[in-house]
Symmetry: C2
Subunit: 394 residues, 2 copies
């Protein structure tokens, strides 16, 4: 019999009571709110990862992910964690020490990718861009020509600014310079057209908790055959065990060998979220995001607020808006949270302190939320007008 | 406006219908079933990781983890993923290239830890043990003396065999040889006494989906002050971004900087699971696991089945049982799943094909389940008696 030896210390035996969370409207850069059907699904009783039912679940998800991404890629899988974990899995599998890697950097997450790639021993080159702007084809070509990278990491929906990178012609350039194209679709998938195969993308990743309206903790990634060939021909080992998919890739895709890492209940949720996307259809979903965004932008303009991103490349699901100098900026976000249970995001990197970021993603992309968000913002701006303006106005 | 350019391919727009999972009794090596309260909790509407409510949740979990582990460690945190991810986080933070690492290997997961450590550039030494046996103090001391490792990885509850490593005296030895002691409590926490501080453990990890009866996807790890000093004095960078806790450690523990990686709904679940453990109390929970196990072992003996692990070191939550040669072994597990919705585990490594592993963990550790499992097993063994035995018996 296993003995106890010591007496139990009761110091940390806290009674935390019943879970009692005030619901919030998640109108920031993400996570977004989840569909009620998704929340029901994740509360379902779990099965083990060796269950034949689990394999069927994964097959459903693979098909629905291919629909969402518009790709035929056989290697298309959910992965535990956030978009960062999915990015890490893509980077760890594609990068070997001393590889030349090019990263498009026009916001916070580009630098994060650079850092991740450096840890795998890559020689990292930046394609530098302005925050709030997209990369031109000629700028991309110039860097591809100069760097001749093995992999080019590009962010489709830039969450630091709410810009959407036009993709036409980039895949062709990457093929010409023998470069693998990796696309971050974390903030774009489900909101705007994404056509991985037409765009000749070799690897992509996304997450469940933005426009798919699944809770955080489950993400997804995909490799083209061209990317798989590169991984199969690796000379060095993958840098850490949890992101090593080489075995899975060599054996072809067998979800059975992979399932142990997956958070089963969030897999239920992702399946439900993707199913909702398929029921609505991609085009209807894109249209809904666009119409919601147009209503929001119109309302912001009426309030005299300026959106710094050009409408041609503005994401419909995440809008950067300049903070007017008539208000006490630091008070707005806590006020919205306290008074309206609304969360919005602050700026990041170069735009920190300059913009707020308003996200209406997935289930949140509805006219009712536009009215709610605009009214709350109007109230917040009125209450927190700066003293100087209050006095002159008063 | 963002344009579409291509028409949508409908090939993968599958109608997967409503989620319809047959519930299972998860009586294998894990995951175990979750408490209904935990499943309710994880279906709650999510909040964002910057929400003040989230910080309070983490504080609750930190306190409850300290209770479960019996430690005062300030650095005690949940982490996204399974026990492997928690192990990876511990290994990535503690190990630098060329460090000498000792791993106790008496089952499958020990080899997995060796492999993980090698990827971080460690010089890995094995303390080899028999599967189904524990390590003696003298064997441990001999290897510590010979290898002088920076870190010694030891598995408390060995899930390949269902053995429990006696811990008395090991921490003192590690201190004497200036070695950090890392303890894997994935399969032991919540089932048998764990006293990290009394045992002088420097880092530990566990997962939610075994004896805590939370679904998979959330785990936890903890560092002693002694371990944190080693991490603060690292010369090299941590090998990948998602496991880099050095910033958090340098700034002291501020959960705010860390929350972005956490699957919020599973955090709800882990809090609820730990709260249930605290309500029941550690000693009551250990007693329940022991009594359930004794009933199971008695029943197995009555059926003439042999448990290869000595009762002194046998885990009460996971029992290896020899497969009798009177049955068609390959048919038993699929039969139990199909006829009784019961999942049990096969053997691993050296015991593959020799044993089944029967797990009654957390909520599953109840007498009713003992009766159910024994009856089902009895039926399965009768139905799948080998032809030779059937004939002579007939």
């Amino acid at each position: 019999m296993i003995r106890q030896y010591y007496s139990v210390n009761e110091k940390y035996r806290k009674d935390t009571g019943q879970l009692n969370i005030t619901p919030r409207f998640l109108f920031g850069s993400g996570p977004a709110n989840a569909y009620p059907r998704v929340l029901q699904a994740i509360g379902s009783r779990q099965i083990a990862n060796r269950d034949p039912q689990f394999v069927d679940l994964i097959k459903d998800i693979q098909s629905l992910l291919r629909y969402a991404w518009q790709t035929d890629n056989a290697f298309t899988l959910p992965i535990s964690g956030t978009g960062r974990n999915a990015m890490e899995a893509v980077a760890a599998n594609l990068i070997e020490p001393n590889d030349r890697i090019l990263v498009g950097v026009n916001g916070f997450f580009g630098n994060y990718i650079c850092e991740a790639a450096r840890r795998y021993g890559a020689k990292v080159f930046k394609l530098k861009g302005e925050i709030g702007a997209a990369f031109s084809l000629s700028a991309i070509e110039a860097q591809l020509k100069r760097v001749r990278p093995k992999v080019f990491f590009l962010i489709h929906g830039q969450s630091a600014s709410g810009t959407c990178q036009p993709m036409e012609g980039i895949g062709e350039l990457c093929h010409r310079y023998d470069t693998l194209l990796v696309l971050d679709t974390v903030t774009s998938l489900g909101a705007v057209p994404v056509f991985l195969d037409h765009w000749k993308v070799d690897a992509a990743f996304t997450t469940g908790h933005r426009c798919l309206s699944c809770p955080p903790g489950i993400s997804a990634f995909t490799f083209s055959e061209r990317a798989l060939r590169v991984i199969r021909n690796r000379k060095s080992r993958i840098a850490n065990s949890t992101t090593d998919f080489s075995g899975l890739i060599r054996r072809k895709v067998s979800s059975r060998h992979y399932l142990y890492t997956l958070p089963i209940n969030l897999v239920y949720g992702l399946r439900e979220a993707l199913q909702i996307l398929a029921e609505q259809g991609l085009e209807v979903t894109w249209k809904r995001h666009r119409e919601t965004a147009e209503a929001l932008w119109e309302g912001l303009a009426e309030m005299g607020l300026r959106c710094p991103v050009h409408p041609d490349i503005r994401l419909p699901n995440l809008t950067a808006v300049d903070i007017p100098d008539t208000v006490d900026a630091d008070r707005i976000r806590p006020y919205l949270l306290k008074e309206f249970n609304i969360e919005i995001s602050s700026g990041l990197g170069d735009w920190q302190g300059r913009v707020w970021r308003l996200g209406l993603m997935g289930i949140n992309s509805r006219r009712a939320n536009v009215v709610l968000l605009l009214s709350a913002l109007k109230n917040a701006l009125a209450v927190h007008r700066r003293a100087f303006f209050s006095e002159t106005a008063g």
